[in-house]
Symmetry: C2
Subunit: 400 residues, 2 copies
């Protein structure tokens, strides 16, 4: 064979890091506050085993075939019913199961945009979504959040500028309204309504990523953005946080015109019909409200442990909004602190987290970081926060 | 809300049919020779149920989590071992599980190409692959097959022209070497070797789609194209034909440089780790050679029934290469016959198939069609071919 020449891969990789980020290589000995993993005993292993047997024995011939089978219909029906709690009224032909929410985000980006199209995101923003938008070769602009979520007033100003030709109009805006990843806050009802109105006025879509909605610590639910603008909002949620991530099942709700296009982009066809049947059988068997109770309690307990430990070991030196649900707490340090440097020291000391700059577009050092309280037990969380405080004190002495 | 304006979706949909093709809407009463579905009792339902319970009870906590778990390692090891039979020697870091082969084709197209890039395919070519290439906005050129597969001599001529600047050089060539879908033929060893050499000389990739390799009716295996050019061949195969399509599991083998990029494009992360664990447990339990025997026998029997029926009801009026494996038989009629017209009449008479033009780029009427012998039983196959012969005789009288 001749000597190989260099091959020119797709340009979509320009600017996307090839081998994950610095925090991806988890050391086995660390207390992991980096990733939003459900805690280990949150999984209903026996219930899923029973459901798997039922799915195979009663519907195996259909569920193992290329398409169809009743599992698909049952799961769509479950999603349709459950969505009413989010003020979402849809038919099952407006729902599609995806292999996790990240796949959904990727499919929607490719449905709505071409390379070079403008997409607006929050700052900070979930890095998994960013990766999909980079791969879709979107031009990204980020708008800040405050304690009531995305600054929709700034979005409106920018849209007015866009309508005057001073900047490109976005094809869509990606928003995570409940228990924001990473910021832990929720978007106010007024802003949800306003954002939906803007989508109609300026003719863009909103991707509403509602991954954490069921993990609500105070029981109050806000209406979805979708409920204020069903023709310009694409709603997503997931079974990863309420059944298990390893089943790889999430869903998209949108109007049928968009959904038909998304289905075309999803070239693999339906997400595993067998897995859909298994999850259907599982959900048929459990009282879902009862199933959720210990899960929510488990996450609330971990959130409380983390808040307590931060108060105990940091006092007034850091600030954060107490998350009312979800997996994450977003911690802000004094301005001179660089959390990427802090991460390096923390890993040495036995704790991992995600540094703030991973959630921004500009890649500059930041003084905030994301802590996941979802995975570790209370003792680990307390130990990790104590270690983090020590590492912080050390950096503080060197920069202040 | 204001009146909605028209929204401009991605340009990738231009030229892709929005609502499938004419043959997609399967009438319930038809004898279906259209799609390559495994026959219903080919599935090991009890074995999979047992495997599901074992996977959940023994590895549930890891298999239900976001990543990792031993299932992933076990399935890669199984694929690595089995690939040796295809003359493929690789490490497990050169293997990735995908949600079916169509997803793999889509991922590879997006890894290797940008919109407007040139991609070469066979004529006829599997329409699922075509859809992925249209969505990737590739410029497609098709080269004919004969009884020994793709006309690699014509490929070489075209590559020489491309090297002289007379036409674009392909970024990759998509080839289905064993029991071709739809043509039923296999690529000769000489052509496999030559094609791999051309990939090195002219610096393009080959996608080797080996979906049907295990369903081999005479027991002779040809070495893969991959074995002749591992640095420029991306090999794919699937569990859809040997376990079940509903599990949605296939795999890609390539050099690590390409695979790392494919992993980035696969934004959803690993294909269901739980399903990987279930399939691992299933494969651990069965003697795979014994598992295959009845499957291969079942497909051979159906192939024989179809060949017999064609000989009995058509005599010398049609021609075909007898498939030595796989799911499909490619039938060629006298030149004046238009199989799209034939399809219309056949559906009326109770039989479905896929008309020839669905497998070509130009969309012109053709005198060939694809019959799947994989799904129906022998009596249904015989009845369907008899019906088809009647429909053909009717058209023949009207055109000849």
């Amino acid at each position: 064979m001749e000597k190989l020449e260099q091959y020119q891969f797709s340009k979509r990789f320009d600017g996307v890091p090839l081998i994950g980020s610095a925090f991806a290589g988890e050391h086995p000995g660390l207390i992991p506050l980096a990733f939003g993993f459900p805690y280990p005993n949150s999984f209903s292993i026996d219930g899923l085993a029973e459901a798997a047997v039922k799915a195979l024995k009663s519907e195996g011939t259909e569920a193992l075939q290329y398409s169809g089978g009743p599992g698909q219909k049952k799961i769509l029906e479950w999603i349709r019913e459950r969505s009413k709690l989010r003020s979402i009224q849809v038919d099952t032909d407006q729902i599609m199961v995806t292999s996790g929410s990240n796949q959904g985000i990727d499919l929607v980006a490719r449905t709505l945009t071409d390379p070079g199209d403008s997409v607006w995101v929050e700052a900070p923003v979930y890095f998994g979504a960013l990766r999909a938008f980079y791969l879709a070769q979107n031009e990204l602009t980020a708008f800040p959040v405050d304690e009531a979520g995305l600054r929709v007033d700034l979005i409106e100003e920018a849209l007015i500028e866009a309508s005057e030709g001073k900047r490109p109009m976005p094809k869509f805006i990606y928003v995570l309204p409940n228990y924001h990843n990473p910021a832990g806050i929720s978007l106010s009802v007024e802003r949800r309504k306003k954002l939906a109105e803007l989508a109609y006025t300026y003719n863009f879509y909103i991707i509403e990523d509602d991954a954490y909605v069921e993990l609500n610590f105070d029981g109050e639910f806000l209406p979805s953005i979708y409920s204020f603008g069903p023709e310009r909002v694409i709603y997503m949620s997931t079974f990863s946080k309420i059944v298990a991530p390893g089943i790889r099942m999430a869903w998209i709700i949108s109007d049928p015109e968009v959904l038909n296009r998304i289905k075309i982009v999803k070239t693999e066809g339906l997400t595993s019909v067998l897995m859909q049947e298994v999850v259907s059988c599982f959900l048929e068997k459990v009282d879902f409200a009862e199933h959720l109770k210990p899960l929510v309690a488990g996450y609330r307990m971990r959130r409380d442990a983390m808040v307590q430990a931060i108060n105990d070991f940091f006092g007034d030196e850091v600030s954060f909004e107490k998350p009312e649900g979800g997996f994450f707490l977003w911690l802000t340090f004094p301005e001179k602190i660089d959390t990427t440097r802090l991460l390096h020291d923390a890993v040495e000391a036995g704790v991992s987290f995600v540094d703030g700059k991973s959630f921004y577009l500009d890649g500059k050092p930041t003084n905030n970081l994301r802590l996941a309280f979802s995975f570790c037990d209370e003792a680990q969380i307390r130990e990790a926060i104590q270690t983090l405080a020590k590492v912080y004190q050390k950096q503080k002495r060197s920069v202040c």
